[in-house]
Structure formats: C-alpha cells, structure tokens
C-alpha cells in the first residue's frame, strides 16, 4: 500500500484484526464509533479481544454490539452504564472491566500516541480507581502514575479522509478519535467521504495522514440512537 493511497475494502481492513489483540475504538456513547468497522470486527470472528475506549456503547450501538457477543475478555472504559449486558458479563466474570476517569483515559491514549511514557495526576487519589497504579512522590506531593496506552489496532470514524489519511471529523463525533488514530499500530479509518489529496485545506485537517494505515468507505450509521427509539 503506497503512502499516498491507503483506500481499501473491508476485507483487507479486516485482515488487521487478530485473536487477543488490543483494540482501541473511537467514540463517545457510540457517537463517532465507526459502524461499518464494528460490523467488520463482528464478521471477522476474532476473539479474546482487549477493548479500550470511552464506554461500552449501548447493546445495539457502537462497540456495544461487539461487547454483547462475549468475544472481548477485557474492557478499559470510563463507564458501562448505557450497556447493561456489559454489566452482566462483568458480574458473571466473563468480562474484566477496569474503570478510568474519562479524561484520564483519553490522556493515557494520547500519551501513547505522542510517544511519551505516561503522566502524573492526583485525580483519583484515595479512591477505588487508584487500583494498584504506582504512586510517585514529587517534592512533597504524591501522585498517581497513569501509564501510556497503545493499541494493536485502532478503529476511527471520520467525516472526510483524503487518500493519504488526512482526517477531519464531524462535530461531537470527533471526541476520542484523533488519539485512537495516533496510538494504534494499525489505524483503520472509516470515512463518510474520501477525497483526493489536496482537497482538504491543510489548516482544517485535525489528524495528519501519517497515522493512518487503511481507509474504508462508510455507509453511515446503521443503528438507531436512543433518542430516536424513544421517539417511537
């Protein structure tokens, strides 16, 4: 695949998935989670996946569709409140869930994505969310060490991609996607629109293409949002 044309099909993208992989997924409550790549992940049959992302989605939305299939062994997320199945699997011991403060989680992904070795914060000090994270004393103060996160594979949803992988996002569907792109060894982007290089203004590009391995064409969200189902 040449540096300047990373557009491919779902079958090729799917070959990046493997049993036991650590998968980073973009999205916040399913908003900004790539729907086509979630289906592609489901179809792949891969199992024993370690999932890292903001939340567990809803049972029929975002990563939640995959979580419900019991093919993930671990989930590191800030909450699973919107996906009761995730809670059930956790209580049954079928899914190991670690919680992180939401902003700390995305910073940990960023830390991995920018090649740093983690950071210090006092945020979760003295709470259950300290887990057994290392404590570091600097001067007179003790902090929690938060380790960098990287993924074997990352799935990202973009509004537009050029063939190099320069990305722009759509409103609040941006959320964690830029850092998932930076922190994954193999970043796969599902884009609503794929354009030739030169079509995006260099100033508006949010994620430079340097981070992207594969680009696939999206067919858009294939689920109903909670507020849409409520309307009915």
């Amino acid at each position: 695949m040449h540096l300047f044309n990373k557009v491919t099909d779902y079958t090729t993208a799917q070959s990046a998935f493997f049993d036991g992989m650590t998968l980073l997924f973009g999205g916040f409550g399913g908003v900004g989670t790539p729907p086509g790549l979630i289906d592609c992940l489901i179809d792949s049959g891969v199992k024993d996946v370690k999932l890292i992302g903001n939340d567990a989605g809803f049972p029929w939305i975002g990563i939640g569709k995959f979580v419900c299939l019991e093919r993930a062994t671990h989930l590191l997320a800030s909450h699973i409140g919107s996906n009761p199945t995730a809670g059930d699997l956790m209580n049954q011991g079928k899914l190991q869930v670690e919680f992180s403060p939401q902003g700390i989680l995305v910073e940990r992904i960023r830390s991995g994505g920018v090649g740093l070795n983690g950071f210090l914060t006092e945020l979760s000090k003295g709470t259950q969310l300290e887990y057994d994270k290392p404590k570091v004393t600097i001067g007179a103060k003790e902090y929690i060490y938060e380790a960098p996160i990287t993924g074997d594979v990352g799935i990202v949803y973009a509004k537009k991609a050029d063939t190099f992988g320069n990305l722009i996002f759509d409103k609040t569907a941006r959320n964690t996607n830029p850092y998932v792109a930076m922190a994954s060894k193999v970043t796969i982007v599902e884009a609503d629109e794929i354009v030739p290089m030169g079509e995006l203004d260099p100033e508006e590009i949010v994620v430079p293409g340097i981070y992207v391995k594969y680009i696939v064409q999206s067919k858009g969200y294939n689920w109903k949002w909670v507020w849409e189902t409520k309307d009915k």
């Binding site: 916040f28 409550g29 399913g30 908003v31 900004g32 903001n54 939340d55 997320a77 800030s78 909450h79 699973i80 409140g81 919107s82 809670g87 956790m90 209580n91 869930v97 919680f99 992180s100 403060p101 939401q102 902003g103 700390i104 995305v106 910073e107 960023r110 006092e122 945020l123 979760s124 003295g126 709470t127 259950q128 969310l129 996002f169 759509d170 409103k171 609040t172 569907a173 941006r174 959320n175 964690t176 996607n177 830029p178 850092y179 949010v206 969200y221 949002w225 909670v226 507020w227 849409e228």
Partner: protein
C-alpha cells in the same frame, strides 16, 4: 418525584449567573436550562467535546451533535467543537465556573459519591471525577433521601467516594446547604419543608448559615 426534580432544578438554576461557563451532569442537572432567564448568556460545555450548546433541536436532530449523555443538542453563535482530551483539559484546568452534578451521597465535608453502588449499579465514573476536581464551583443536586427513605447527606459516605472535599453546595427538595472549609451549613429551607423535616432526614450534623432563611 417528577415535581421534586423540577423544583430542585429550578432552585439550582438560581446559581447560574450571566457570563458563566457551566457543565451539567445527567438527570436533574440536565433540567436546569429550562429555568434560566432568556436574557441570561451562559455557555454550556460538555465533556465529549463541545462548548456553547444550545437547546434540544425540535426537528432534524443530528446524531453527530450531542451532549455527553448522547442526546442531540444545537449550537449557539461562538460555539466550538474539540476533542475529549481538550474537553477534560478545560475541566481540570479550572475553566468551568460551575458544575452541577447528581449525587448518591454527600457527606458533611463535601465528599461526593456518585459513581457506583457496589453489587447493584455499576455505571462507571464517566467524567465525574474530573468535574468534581476541576470545576470552580460544584453543586450536588439530588433527592434528600434515597428510595428507601434513607438520608443521602451523611456523616460518612458508605458508597465509594468519587472525589473528596469537592461539593460546595447541596440542593434537594427540602433544603439548600453550603459546605465551607469542610463544614456543613444550612442555607435555606425549600417551600413546604420545616426545619424538623430537614433535621429528621439529614444524617450529617450541620450548623446554620449566617444568612439562613426559612423560605423565599
């Protein structure tokens, strides 16, 4: 109960001042904007990555334009989109003037418990820790007692704590409290409730604010 939640939200709305940057949690806090004056210019921030949210759209809601609860919103002139890391950067950095959060328990020192009921509800912490840590002012809004009638303003939180010493004000359907230097003060009685009601339903010891008032 629905009424009580509206009453709490209406009282909380009085804490929102013109020119503030405000972050609202889910549940009762999300009702606060309904009670703000039309001339009030406030910027609402949400931790998924938006500043300057407007009201819920009446039609043509956009799945990619939502608040942190995933519900559709609109934008006001001057709004901006950004990623979640920057959203939380703002919060930790102290750029949020006021955060209004729901709570399961608050103790007299301002410790907040709002993320887990072990063995029962495991929602996860979401952005609560950052908001509790970073907001210049944190107001906890909640029903005065839980569903079993047990006080939620407690001497010690029995539920896992989200953040210590963070709550500055508590608003319930019965009363408004302030927490200053880890001491609990009764500011107001809410309409329809007596001092006895509040005393009977509050586990934590409290003093009276210097400007304590029974009713508006």
């Amino acid at each position: 109960m629905g009424d009580e939640r509206q009453i709490i939200a209406k009282r909380a709305a009085l804490e929102v001042k013109d020119g503030m940057i405000v972050n609202l949690g889910i549940g009762i806090p999300s009702m606060v904007p309904n009670f703000l004056g039309k001339d009030m210019r406030v910027f609402f921030q949400a931790e998924n990555g938006i500043l300057g949210m407007g009201p819920t759209p009446k039609e043509n809601a956009d799945g990619n334009l939502s608040n942190a609860a995933g519900l559709p919103v609109t934008v006001l002139p001057g709004a901006s989109y950004f990623d979640s890391a920057i959203a939380f950067g703002m919060i930790r950095r102290g750029c949020i003037d006021l955060s209004i959060l729901g709570a399961l328990q608050v103790n007299a020192r301002g410790d907040l418990a709002n993320w887990i009921v072990p063995g029962k509800r495991v929602p996860g912490v979401g952005g609560a820790m950052e908001l509790a840590y970073g907001a210049k002012n944190l107001i906890a809004v909640m029903n005065h007692c839980d569903k079993d009638g047990k006080p939620k303003i407690v001497t010690e939180c029995s539920l896992p704590v989200t953040t210590y010493h963070c709550v500055k004000k508590i608003i319930t359907e019965m009363a408004v409290f302030s927490i200053i230097d880890q001491q609990l003060y009764l500011d107001e009685l809410m309409p329809g409730y007596s001092l006895a009601d509040v005393k009977n339903n509050t586990e934590a010891d409290f003093s009276f604010s210097t400007n304590f008032k029974a009713h508006d």
